[in-house]
């Protein structure tokens, strides 16, 4: 079986890793695997070799629904001139920390 055949028969999976310090799982890449179990093991071997993570999520790429890049203008540009949406216009008391 050559790589091309395998790419056709093994689905693609997206891999999310949570690092020791991190609270959230971050997308780190993708890989091929026959099922979810193998995908997690492959992710362990491919993406956590250098102590990158303590938790792995995988999801089959076909289940990811993405926004259309063509819509970028109408989706994201309108936010550009709405600086008041950033919480930067408040005066915080000195006693307040961790903000």
């Amino acid at each position: 079986m050559n790589t091309r055949d395998i790419e056709q028969s093994w689905p693609l999976w997206e891999v999310f890793i949570r690092s020791k310090q991190g609270l959230d799982h971050k997308h780190v890449g993708s890989l091929h695997a026959a099922d979810a179990h193998m995908a997690i093991e492959n992710a362990r071997d491919v993406y956590t070799r250098r102590m990158e993570g303590v938790s792995i999520w995988v999801v089959e790429s076909q289940h990811i629904h993405a926004s259309n890049p063509d819509d970028a203008g109408s989706l994201y540009d309108p936010a550009n001139d709405k600086v008041y949406r950033h919480p930067t216009f408040y005066n915080l008391p000195d006693e307040l920390t961790h903000m």
């Binding site: 790589t3 395998i6 071997d45």
Partner: protein
Amino acid sequence: MMQTDNNTQHTNPIHRPLVQYILHLADTALILGHRNSEWCGHGPVLEQDIAISNIALDMVGQARMLYQYAAEIVNTTNVGTAATEDTLAYLRDATAFKNLLLAEQQNGDWAVTILRQFFCSTWQYYVYTQLAECKDARLTEIAAKALKEVTYHIKWSAEWVIRLGDGTEESHQRLVQALELLWPFTGEMFIPVAYEKEGIAEGWAAHIQSLQQPWLQKITEIFQEACITVPERQWQQTGGKTGIHTELLGFLLAEMQFLQRAYPDSEW
């Protein structure tokens, strides 16, 4: 002046039973690790290429810890030449190697490689589990560290055994052929040689006869899921642990030791 040696019959410390035993464990890890490293760049898919290379590195890492310990013991006396992890790995000849015959068997196809790993990792798991509580403090440390790695190796290889055995007709057939090829080399794991008997008596070696049953139980459990039958008792090849190897080891060492022998002590 030579230090007092309570094992007076072993003038060169490398022949002490403890050192021989450490070398047996180290050689098995190194040779199997080297075999796995031969897959690097040739794995069936990128993900498995990395997986088998990771396992190769784990095994070489285990071998290093053991060789370093063996070298320290050898160097406690002035008899013989000073040893390092490198001299032990790269400057001994095939007859001095004490690895299991199973470890030196060729990679063959993916089924042979997987089954060889599954047999060896399961054996290592039970050996290290006992050593983690043995009377030699250093061996307990090494075993405890290696156990975490070996636990993953069993999981990984067992799942592949199941995938192949319970996969397609061809993958099943290949696993059956791999089993026929490798089974005669598994008996050696549980037959103690002289240095192991001394170690068992003194409490620093795994009691391998008692490990055959749990080993076989684990193999049987996975084989049932893989739709494979455990072979009947049959003739078993031995010799690896005392330096009597198949011809395959010589070819392996010729490649593995080439650099160190052709360009001694080279650095990069």
